[in-house]
Symmetry: C2
Subunit: 438 residues, 2 copies
């Protein structure tokens, strides 16, 4: 892609309404545009990052045997009356009357609807366990939407639901998802800490939230650095090994301020391992047994001919929110550097262009074609602008690798720079292999 063709309305103004750095960056780099309070359009750059995150989440869900499907955004109120949550949910639920006067709503979550689908489809213990998930837009009518995509009204989320015969089986599904979440956040280039959590309005008695470290996070967290040293590769996919994995994570101190006690922290965590910082919740998993299956009468025939309520859990990852959270974790000293797995492009070529000299642009175009052939997703900055402005712009766009074609490039060697590092003079072959290694 040539930058002059890319629909990327970069702005130099610092938008007044943007209080945190992800919101500022996303507006300035033309990733999103607000269309009304807490509702955004995703412009090509932002959309591309969000899609990459979505795809990694999808692959990791598929890997544990979860099956993708899709529930609609608009739901009937009937199921919510069956479960008793229609009144409970309050004003955050966007309530709608259709032209026939029927009470509808824009789904804020899907426990009721998935339970309805399940109860009309699966009757026998033989078909269990099952994990279903979807990735869909949801709506919560926040009274004060703010912080850009971090607390908006229309947001993109993966939610999964597990169905098991017994509490014991259900915990195996819970552990699988726990494992999947750790893998997912690793692949996204984020350090996520699983923390035992309260279940809130979803209900249930077992819950973890996954929190990434960022100074601008919404909650204070206290943790033992050792939690980042757990190597996922040492667990296999057996139930026993996954149970051990969750125990290993749980045995290391990590809490939000609600559960924090100074005495415990200093007793349990060595001084040099103490992490005190802020965090952003990017995922939340719940086990709530028959909380929804019971009122909705979702029954399964057991092997000995009885009927019992299916045991359920639900598992969310905020995909649009992760775009903002990734920026909060990686945008420092006015330089954004995307993790390679979710960067909008693999590399950008930045030629120094002047009106009388198009030689650098021609060199850049040659390299562009070479890299394209290798399936490297490359951006070419063909805009006629001075280099200092270009570098400032690319500090916003955040592509981790730059090939700079200017005074330092020699015959067949070019200046190659990884953001936040020193540049090197390298041959195109070395550059290719550096990019491909990641």
């Amino acid at each position: 892609m040539y930058l002059s063709k890319l629909f990327i309305p970069i702005t130099k103004d610092l938008p007044a309404e943007a209080k945190i750095k992800s919101h500022q960056l996303m507006l300035r780099a033309g990733m999103i545009k607000q269309s009304s309070a807490g509702i955004y359009s995703w412009l090509p750059l932002g959309f591309k990052v969000m899609k990459k995150i979505e795809q990694i989440v999808r692959e990791e869900q598929n890997l544990i045997g979860a099956q993708e499907m899709l529930m609609p955004t608009i739901q009937s109120s009937e199921l919510w009356k069956e479960s008793g949550r229609y009144e409970d949910y309050g004003e955050e639920m966007l309530r709608i009357k259709d032209r026939q006067g029927r009470e509808m709503l824009y789904g804020p979550t899907n426990e009721e609807l998935i339970t309805d689908i399940f109860r009309s489809s699966i009757k026998s213990y033989k078909s269990l366990p099952q994990i279903l998930y979807h990735i869909q837009w949801k709506f919560r009518d926040e009274i004060r939407p703010r912080f850009g995509v971090m607390r908006c009204r229309e947001f993109f989320m993966k939610d999964a639901y597990s169905f098991d015969l017994t509490d014991q089986d259900a915990k195996k599904s819970y552990n699988k998802m726990f494992y999947s979440y750790i893998r997912t956040f690793n692949r996204l280039g984020l350090k996520a800490i699983p923390m035992s959590a309260d279940t809130g309005p979803i209900g249930g008695d077992l819950s973890h939230e996954f929190v990434i470290l960022a100074e601008t996070g919404e909650s204070q967290i206290y943790a033992d650095k050792k939690i980042f040293e757990i190597d996922l590769n040492k667990y296999d996919f057996s139930d026993k090994s996954l149970e051990k994995m969750r125990e290993d994570f749980s045995s290391i101190y990590a809490v939000t301020d609600e559960k924090y006690k100074e005495k415990d922290f200093s007793k349990n965590v060595k001084k040099e391992n103490q992490i005190k910082t802020r965090g952003i919740e990017v995922g939340h998993i719940f086990y709530f047994s028959d909380k929804y299956s019971k009122p909705l009468n979702c029954l399964i025939d057991t092997q000995d001919g009885k009927k019992i309520s299916v045991k359920m859990g639900s598992y969310g990852i905020g995909i649009s929110r992760l775009v903002g959270a990734t920026i909060e974790a990686n945008y420092n000293n006015n330089i954004m550097k995307w993790p390679k797995s979710v960067s909008p492009f693999d590399v950008v070529i930045i030629p120094s262009i002047s009106k009388n000299n198009k030689e650098n642009l021609e060199k850049a175009e040659k390299i562009y074609k070479e890299l394209k052939k290798q399936n490297i997703d490359v951006l070419l900055d063909d805009v006629d602008e001075n280099m200092s402005n270009k570098f400032k712009k690319h500090d916003l766009i955040g592509i981790p690798y730059q090939i700079i074609i200017g005074s330092k490039s020699e015959q067949n060697k070019y200046e190659f720079k990884e953001l936040n590092s020193e540049s090197e003079i390298l041959s195109l072959e070395s550059i290719k292999s550096k990019i491909k290694k990641n």
Copy 2:
């Protein structure tokens, strides 16, 4: 995937509410489940087909340089008041009040919103032409939703918008999209006829709808068979060649009953080339110049310093509707056969299984692993059920290739069948290459 693990609630009942064959098939094969009038959940089988269609549409949009982005489902009413369509749209628009009492709506289309994004981003002729598109859920509050996903309320659509400086340039964008649509429907295994059309509520003076042949279609069509003989490969991507392409299509007789005149049809189309059948609209493109850019004040600086309204077109493909339309075009004599490009699986292995003999199942599992290694997406029917029921079930699921492991399989040869054809006895190597060829 093993069929016993797939979430696919197949039902033998013919659902009373389903009047057309795509609706019947999708309910019976467990592809969708209605959640309220005209609103469906997409279960794994249906979801997979829809995603494949979406991906082909996306690839073909990208190929002509269109850039993907995403607009939200919920819009403010303000822009619609600016364009004057807020009142015009009538009751099909789902109108919503949020908790602050603001008038919102669920987008039925996006001309207003994209114009707003464009006017705040692009100011100069230098940045033109641009084509932006998104693939998003939309809502039209049909008074009588019916025919399953063919006429539902919440539906999945690709809509693209082109922006040009002059009418002449805009027609070049229109031709590119025309070309892209023909390619897209070809890849989807559908025979689509472009027909000059009225512009309706979108407005403008140039429009084509793309109609596929299906006896159950909503409109009567009359066409010359020669229209299917136009070879897209003979056009290149130059403006001149694409203009010639559209002329070539337009020169061949093809109309819906509104424009049909018997005299013209018999005069212009040879008897043996006359097609009289019904058709389903699966795409619609419009050129409407400054119909929205003018009231919304979307101005572009020209090279000689003037300001003019940008010239726009819009281009839709109904993605969820295409799932139904593909069934209408391919489900005959109680046998569904998916076009290979959108089939939920590449091939299904059907072993004859009995309680006392698991040998066939073991053979099937061995073949399954072999095919998986080759990146072939294979379904294994491991359900303990007689072969006659299995075949009936797979006539519904519609996977085009079957490997049957039963009485006819020899040492290292297996019965291989393409739906609607005779079966052959083939080695696994030959089977692999047959599947991969497609």
